[in-house]
C-alpha cells in the first residue's frame, strides 16, 4: 500500500487529536491489510530490518507492551523492552536524562507509556527517534483508539453515523479521550455515560453527548465501550463504592438490553469483572469483541510502525 501524502506528518504519533480523517482512514486501511496478513500467518520481516524499537514503559503494562513487541518483530525490527520502574524514577533520573541515554543508543522508534500527561510529547522534543504514545496519564492512548475503530469498522462496516457509548470512568481515561477524538472525527455519534464525578469538565465541548443514566445513554447504541474503573488513580472517593458503581454503571445483561439488539461490547482491558462489566457479558461471543480488539491491536501497531518507518527512510 502506498500513500500520496504523509500519514503522520510530524514523524510521531503522540495523539489522535489533530489527525485528519483521511489520515485516520489510511491508517485503518493499512492496519486492515496487516490483520489479513497476520491471519494468513505471513510476515514482512524486511520492512523494519535493522531498525531498533524500544518499548519504554514507565507504567506497568502487559498487553500493550506485548502487542508493540509482536508488531515490531513481525516487521523485522530489533525490539528492546525497557521497564523503568517507579523506584529508579524516584532515584532522580529525569525524563530528559532518559532521552539523552536513548539518543546515545540510536534508537529509531520509541514506544512510550508514562503516568504523566504530555510526557511522550516532552520526550519527542528531546530524542531523534519517532515517538509513539502508548498511553500518557489521562491524556491519550492513540493506538488503542485505532484498534477500537478498526474493530468497530470490521464488525459494523463503517464508523460514520454509528452511536458509540463510552461508559464509566471517563475522567481518568486516556482511552476515552483518544476514542472521542477519533470517532467524532470520523462522524460517529459519541456519548459518554458515567456519574458526574467521573465525567471531565466541559466534556460536551469535545463533541459528545453526556449522560449520567445508562438507560438513556445506551438507548439505540451500536457500540458499548466499557472503561476500566481506574481504581489506582482514584483519589478522594469519586465514587462511594464499587458495588454502588456496578449497580448503576456496570454492564450486565439487563443494561445491555437497552442498547440495539446487535450492539457490540468492547473493553480496552484489563477488566475488573463485577465492577464495570459482568463476566457473562465479557465472555459472551455473541456480543463481546474484546478478543478481536487484542488481535486488531497488533495490526494497528504494525500499521503505525510501518508509516513512521516510511518517514525514517525518507529522512535517511
Amino acid at each position: 500500500m502506498s500513500f500520496s501524502f504523509p500519514i503522520l506528518p510530524d514523524g510521531h504519533l503522540l495523539a489522535i487529536e489533530g489527525l485528519e480523517p483521511p489520515h485516520i482512514g489510511a491508517l485503518l486501511d493499512l492496519a486492515e491489510s496487516y490483520a489479513l496478513l497476520n491471519r494468513q500467518g505471513k510476515t514482512q520481516r524486511d520492512l523494519l530490518k535493522g531498525r531498533t524499537l524500544i518499548n519504554l514503559f514507565f507504567e506497568d503494562s502487559t498487553r500493550t507492551r506485548t502487542s508493540f513487541e509482536l508488531a515490531g518483530k513481525r516487521l523485522g525490527a530489533d525490539v528492546i523492552n525497557m521497564s523503568v520502574s517507579n523506584s529508579s524514577v524516584n532515584k532522580g533520573e529525569t525524563l530528559i536524562d532518559t532521552a539523552t541515554t536513548l539518543n546515545a543508543m540510536h534508537c529509531d522508534l520509541l514506544v512510550v507509556r508514562h503516568a504523566q500527561s504530555g510526557a511522550p510529547a516532552l520526550l519527542s522534543q528531546k530524542v531523534s527517534a519517532s515517538v509513539i504514545n502508548a498511553g500518557d496519564g489521562t491524556h491519550e492512548h492513540p493506538t488503542q483508539a485505532l484498534l477500537d475503530a478498526l474493530t468497530i469498522r470490521r464488525r459494523k462496516g463503517r464508523l460514520e453515523g454509528l452511536v458509540v457509548a463510552i461508559c464509566g470512568d471517563v475522567l481518568h481515561s486516556r482511552v476515552a479521550r483518544s476514542n472521542i477524538h477519533l470517532l467524532t472525527a470520523m462522524n460517529a455519534r459519541v456519548r459518554v455515560i458515567g456519574p458526574p464525578t467521573l465525567i471531565p469538565a466541559e466534556a460536551a465541548r469535545l463533541g459528545v453527548e453526556v449522560f449520567h443514566d445508562m438507560k438513556a445513554g445506551l438507548a439505540g447504541a451500536d457500540v458499548v465501550m466499557m472503561l476500566r474503573l481506574q481504581r489506582e488513580r482514584m483519589t478522594g472517593g469519586l465514587v462511594p463504592s464499587s458495588r454502588e458503581f456496578f449497580r448503576f454503571f456496570g454492564l450486565d445483561r439487563e443494561k445491555l438490553g437497552w442498547a440495539k439488539p446487535d450492539a457490540i461490547v468492547m473493553h480496552p482491558g484489563p477488566m475488573n469483572r463485577g465492577i464495570e462489566i459482568d463476566s457473562a457479558i465479557a465472555d459472551d461471543p455473541e456480543c463481546s469483541v474484546i478478543g478481536e480488539q487484542v488481535e486488531m491491536g497488533v495490526a494497528c501497531r504494525m500499521a503505525v510502525l510501518d508509516v513512521l518507518a516510511r518517514d525514517l527512510r525518507r529522512n535517511v
Binding site: 487529536e17 529525569t94 525524563l95 530528559i96 508514562h114 504523566q116 500527561s117 504530555g118 510526557a119 510529547a121 516532552l122 500518557d136 496519564g137 489521562t138 491524556h139 491519550e140 486516556r174 479521550r177 471531565p200 469538565a201 466541559e202 466534556a203 465541548r205 469535545l206 483519589t235
Partner: protein, 425 residues
C-alpha cells in the same frame, strides 16, 4: 554627589497627573525640582532624555526570591539586577523562603542583603503564620519592628478560616495588610491547570476557577468581621473581581493586585504542555483575562505586581503536572503593562499609577512619585522602543518567563536609585 539634570524628558507622575515635557534636577539623591527649561547647575551631569519618558521607579508589590534557601534559582543580588533592568526600584519580597521569614532576625537579614545590592529598596514581607504553615500567627509586632512591610504566606493560601480571622484581627492593631494567595487549597489540591475544556483535552488535573472566588468571598466576610485589611494577590478571575468590587463599594478594607500574565495571556499559552506558562494561579480562559483588563480600567485592581517566581530548568523541564508553577516577571513588568497602553486598554498615566503611586499607597510609603524633595528613584524608558523577550538572555538568574518569544514595545533605558544610576541599557 554630582547634581543630575534630565533634559528634554516626558515627565510622568501618576500621583499628580503630570504628563508634560520638561527637565528634572536631582541633588543629593533627592528630586530638587522639575519643570520646563530648568537652569543647569555648574558641573551637573546632563542626561539628555530626548523625549523618553521619565517616571518614578516602579514599586513591585510581590516577588519571590530564592534567598534564603533556593539561591540556585535566584539570589537577592540577581533579583536586584533583573529588577533594575525592568525599572523597579522598590521590591517587596515574599517570605515563603527556606526558612520562612517568621523571625525578626531573618527579616533583618533580608533587609541587609537588600541594602548590600545598592540598587534597590528591598522590603521583606514577614510570614503571616509561623513557618508559613497556616496554623499559628507569627510575631507581627516584633517582625514590624525588624522592618517587615506586611504579612503573607506567599504562594500558600491561609486556608483555615480561624487562622485568617486571627491574622486579620491581629494585624489590624498594627495597621498593616494581610496578603492572601486567594485559592481554596482543598479544591485546588493536585490541580495543574484551570478546569475546563483545555485541561480536559490535555488530560491535566483541573483547578476550578471558583477556587479563587470562594476564598475571596470568605476573606471578605472575615474583613467585615474583623475590620482588618485583606489584600488579594494576583487576582485572575472575573468572579473574584466582582466580589472585590462589591466589597470596595461597601467600604471594606479590601484591596488587590494582579500580575501581567493574567491580563496578557490566557490558558491557551499552556498548549503543547508549555511548562513556562504553568503558573499559580493557573492561566484562565479569555473571558477572565478580559475581566482583569476591565478591573484595571475601573480601578478595582489597586496595583500590578510582577509575581516573580524564579524557577530553574530542573523545575520546568518535566511533564506538565510535575513541573513547578511560577514565572519570572521582573524584567517584563513594565513592557507587558505597556502592551495594554499600546493596545488602547489603559491610558499611560493610569497604567504607570498601577506600578508606582498606587502600590506605594498600599504600603503607606512616600515613594513612587516625582514630588520635589522625594527620593530620586527614577526610570527612563522609551515608550515605542521594540524588543523581544528571550528566555536565556533575561537579566537575573531566573529565565522562566511565560512571555518567552513575546514582542514588546516600551523598553527601560535607565534606572536611578536615590539619584545613582543603577541600570543603563
Amino acid at each position: 554627589m554630582t547634581d543630575i539634570v534630565f533634559t528634554g524628558a516626558r515627565l510622568l507622575d501618576p500621583a499628580t497627573g503630570l504628563d508634560a515635557p520638561g527637565d528634572l534636577l536631582v541633588r543629593n539623591g533627592l528630586i530638587l525640582d522639575h519643570g520646563p527649561n530648568l537652569s543647569r547647575p555648574e558641573g551637573a551631569e546632563i542626561v539628555a532624555a530626548e523625549g523618553a519618558c521619565l517616571a518614578p521607579g516602579l514599586v513591585d508589590l510581590r516577588a519571590a526570591i530564592g534567598e534564603p534557601g533556593a539561591e540556585h534559582r535566584e539570589t537577592i543580588a540577581s533579583a536586584a539586577a533583573a529588577a533594575v533592568a525592568g525599572g523597579i526600584t522598590t521590591l517587596c519580597a515574599l517570605p515563603d523562603t527556606e526558612p520562612a521569614l517568621d523571625d525578626p532576625a531573618l527579616v533583618q537579614f533580608v533587609l541587609r542583603r537588600g541594602e548590600a545590592t545598592g540598587s534597590i529598596t528591598l522590603l521583606p514581607y514577614a510570614a503571616a503564620t509561623k513557618h508559613c504553615e497556616g496554623k499559628e500567627i507569627a510575631e507581627y509586632g516584633l517582625l514590624l519592628e525588624a522592618g517587615a512591610v506586611g504579612f503573607t504566606d506567599g504562594r500558600r493560601a491561609i486556608g483555615h478560616a480561624r487562622t485568617m480571622r486571627l491574622a486579620l484581627s491581629y494585624a489590624r492593631a498594627f495597621g498593616r495588610m494581610v496578603v492572601q494567595h486567594p485559592e481554596e487549597p482543598g479544591l485546588a489540591a493536585g490541580g495543574a491547570a484551570t478546569e475546563g475544556e483545555l485541561a480536559t483535552r490535555l488530560g491535566l488535573p483541573g483547578i476550578p476557577a471558583a477556587a479563587e472566588a470562594m476564598l475571596v468571598q470568605r476573606d471578605i466576610s472575615l474583613a467585615r468581621l474583623t475590620g482588618g485589611h485583606v489584600h488579594f494577590a494576583h487576582v485572575s478571575t472575573g468572579a473574584a473581581l466582582d466580589l472585590i468590587r462589591a466589597a470596595k463599594a461597601e467600604g471594606l478594607a479590601v484591596t488587590c493586585d494582579t500580575a501581567p500574565p493574567y491580563f496578557d495571556l490566557n490558558e491557551t499559552a499552556i498548549g503543547d504542555y508549555r511548562t513556562y506558562a504553568k503558573l499559580s494561579p493557573p492561566l484562565r480562559p479569555e473571558a477572565d483575562r478580559l475581566a482583569v483588563v476591565a478591573a484595571l480600567q475601573d480601578g478595582t485592581i489597586d496595583a500590578i505586581a510582577s509575581d516573580h517566581q524564579p524557577r530553574d530548568a530542573d523545575d520546568k523541564r518535566l511533564p506538565f503536572a510535575q513541573a513547578e508553577a511560577g514565572g519570572a516577571g521582573l524584567a517584563t513588568l513594565l513592557g507587558v503593562t505597556l502592551a495594554r497602553v499600546h493596545g488602547g486598554d489603559l491610558p499611560l498615566l493610569q497604567a504607570l499609577g498601577l506600578l508606582t503611586a498606587r502600590p506605594a499607597a498600599l504600603l503607606g510609603l512616600p515613594i513612587g512619585r516625582l514630588a520635589k524633595g522625594a527620593t530620586a528613584d527614577l526610570v527612563l524608558f522609551e515608550l515605542d522602543r521594540g524588543w523581544q523577550v528571550k528566555a536565556g538572555s533575561l537579566p537575573g538568574k531566573a529565565q522562566n518567563s511565560p512571555f518567552d518569544g513575546r514582542a514588546l514595545e516600551g523598553r527601560v533605558i535607565g534606572t536611578w536609585k536615590s539619584g545613582r544610576r543603577v541600570f543603563a541599557i
